[in-house]
Subunit: 261 residues, 4 copies
């Protein structure tokens, strides 16, 4: 049996990460799902993929630990298969916090996860991709990469640095066959493991019922995964480096609502 | 037989326009192809679609003429079917011309085709789309919408105005079900009717052989069409408003090439 | 007596235009003030400058008329003096109007004043500046040049096109000594001739008293003029092409207000 | 004698930092100059300011050390005077380095100096400024904050993060009287302590003679200082948050040179 192409997902909860894994597995990839905690939740994602006839494996990973990302990449390449696509899906959202209650530690952790994590991943995985002459690095980003609002000191600095890093990687490696895509998710995702935990079960359910279900006002992660997959399949003569995703019923980050007559 | 959804293409040469028509027809739409001249070329595009089992019609259209776009939209809606998707694919590229050789007339024509044309289309087609609660407006754009180089006075002013118009339309109509996508084609497209005519047959063939075929350095329009189609199919909870497309071997507009060590 | 350098102001009401004229005159320029109507208001501006010891002249000008801008430039160069600095201060604001109540005529007029007007000015004045090896073109711009909100179809398309035109002019002429600056006024200006007329005397006075006087929430045009003057005096090794101006108490266009804890 | 307002310069070499100190001192501020090394160079800057009748003090500072910035701010506020304006002038430029020769340590140091350093400064100085209801934070930035080229992984990530941080600080504190300005220096500065050391004395002198002296192709730091001073004096109704500075003879980062006819 020919070895399957691997889609490695770093940050695989039940939102974007898990759904991207599911989609790529459904299309014939082997999905490797990594998340920091919740072995049970991870097992469920892997089992669901396998129950649907796909191929997947999972592991817990504390990405900010020394060598964690590096060892992961080497281990997957050696024992599972060639990483064709990797999704870097780690966020650094800590809610809106005024400067005086944003600690040095929080600010550093934001950078360590969201910016430095991608740098370490790139250094680890790109040499393998270069040998094969191709590879795709998908990066889930957020509005805070485009502009910084009050209270987003840690998140915006991490995301803004990461956006520039995506550009430097793209500038250095696109012509060598490595496709880096910076995907700006401009709105709240209907994701139980992140939004759900942030809000608590009751508020989350309420938000889903009001803004979500009726109006599609939350981004549906299984629909997001369709676009991620499309980006990873683009012919090399027509690569997208940056795109935005938002619900039709939401206001784009650059717009303010006005009274119009 | 149920009526097919219509994909109307304004600016349907053998490049992006024709290939988008082909793709949507292959997926079950009726394609309506409009271009300013070359009945023969138009007939060939329509015939090719029909030969492949698709459904299409074509008509010559001078888009800058009074009522031309308006009558086209009404005619299609009445006689052919509901416009589900419209591609506005008119450019205003006149090559790089210094200010002193860019005439008032050229500057105005650029605006009239590329900016005012989209405004007129939006005013004509959006009321129909609003009645149905959905619709997609795809706009082929260019790097000149993002920044103006020397010699691009007419083109950049037209494209930059159009980009803002796409944003105002999106801001006003997204929540009513109308998806406006501004697609920045950042590079030369392998299109015989535009690039081919600009360069002449010999230089075009040479460019195709050197930059194009070996290196995929020209954007292939049938590959571009895949992404256009994907955008038009995005679920309304995850719409893309803006994305870039370029060949992997090309330099992004925001990058300069540097010597690196 | 040596001839004074001329600062030509196209769009000289009692707001930015008139105050820029005043500032340049106070610094030794001869100010030429043009506006579409209100001879009395124009005379008052000229008289105020002269009463303060400055030098100025004024004329009514319908900028969208054929040859109006062209004749103005030639007339000033011939009869008054060399145009060192020109401020293009024509706006195209028509308030927030939904698409269906924005007419073809309004959309075209916006472009004709704000975009085409600058193109015509550039074609007229740049040859004179090139002969002298230097010159400054200041362009008052608005947030709508950066992003389009609902209801701004005409204004944003005109301003977005103009922004790109500023870039093409800068790219073509900076190295020849012509400084083009695109100044994004991101907020309401305390200007009786524009904001005042839009709101009517009562509402305007009320706005000045609440948002303006107490909080400096309206941009004060005599303070804006300080920065315009600074930009025009920058040494050619450190030119600014684009900057924003807004009241400290206002929210930047790229920001949304958030609840922060 | 009334206490002078303090202008604190973090990163005070003989380029932008030293010249900004000189300018503010000439206008009546007490300048505090900090740099990492070269006591002699620092003394010369302070002496020059004093010889010109200004008031200044200097100290060596390793900004990345724990508590260094924090202690500096407290010490100045206690012993010297109220910090009216602070210039954060630390760069993180390490030249163009391919990814595989950019170490984890270099990448982290870039962030620690350029991004985290500003965060620490903001946390230290803003409480003092809030008490007084006003203050100015000037941040020298670079093109790499706007887009990432190949080989700029460390620099661009640090600068891009910092740009977003400037926006979050501005969003949170502008309305409380604190003016944060992000100044994009888009080109090489004629600075012996940075450019000079990077190139070595011979190449630096040669560059000055060819690109610099004849063509003003290097940004002159004493001219840059004029604009920094202007920004710090803007009336609060007309604050600039972001502007670019480049030599008239240079190409803007968003432009590519084209052949035009």
């Amino acid at each position: 049996m020919a070895q399957k192409k691997v889609c490695l997902v770093i940050g695989a909860g039940a939102g974007i990460g898990g759904n991207v894994a599911k989609k790529f597995a459904a299309e014939g990839y082997h999905a490797v799902l990594c998340r920091r905690s919740d072995q049970e939740g991870l097992d469920k994602l892997v089992n669901d993929i396998e129950a649907a006839g796909g191929s997947a494996s999972g592991m817990l990973l504390n990405a900010v630990k020394d060598d964690a990302i590096e060892n992961l990449v080497e281990g997957v390449e050696e024992k599972i298969g060639p990483i064709d696509t990797v999704l870097f899906n780690l966020g650094a959202q800590i809610g809106n916090r005024a400067l005086h209650v944003t600690s040095h530690k929080q600010f550093e952790l934001g950078w360590r996860m969201a910016t430095f994590g991608l740098f370490r991943l790139a250094k680890s995985v790109i040499p393998h991709m270069l040998e094969r002459g191709h590879g795709t690095i998908l990066v889930t980003s957020a509005t805070a990469a485009m502009r910084g609002n009050a209270g987003q000191h840690s998140h915006a600095a991490a995301m803004g640095g990461r956006r520039m890093l995506c550009q430097t990687l793209n500038a250095e490696y696109a012509s060598k066959g490595i496709h880096v895509a910076h995907i700006v998710v401009d709105g709240a995702v209907d994701a139980p493991d992140t939004l759900g935990k942030m809000l608590g079960p009751e508020m989350y359910q309420k938000l889903r019922e009001t803004r979500g279900m009726e109006h599609d006002g939350l981004l549906l992660p299984e629909k997001i995964a369709e676009t991620y997959y499309h980006i990873a399949q683009q012919h090399r003569s027509v690569w997208t480096h940056e795109l935005d995703l938002r619900s039709f019923s939401d206001v784009a980050w650059w717009n303010h609502e006005l009274k119009i007559g």
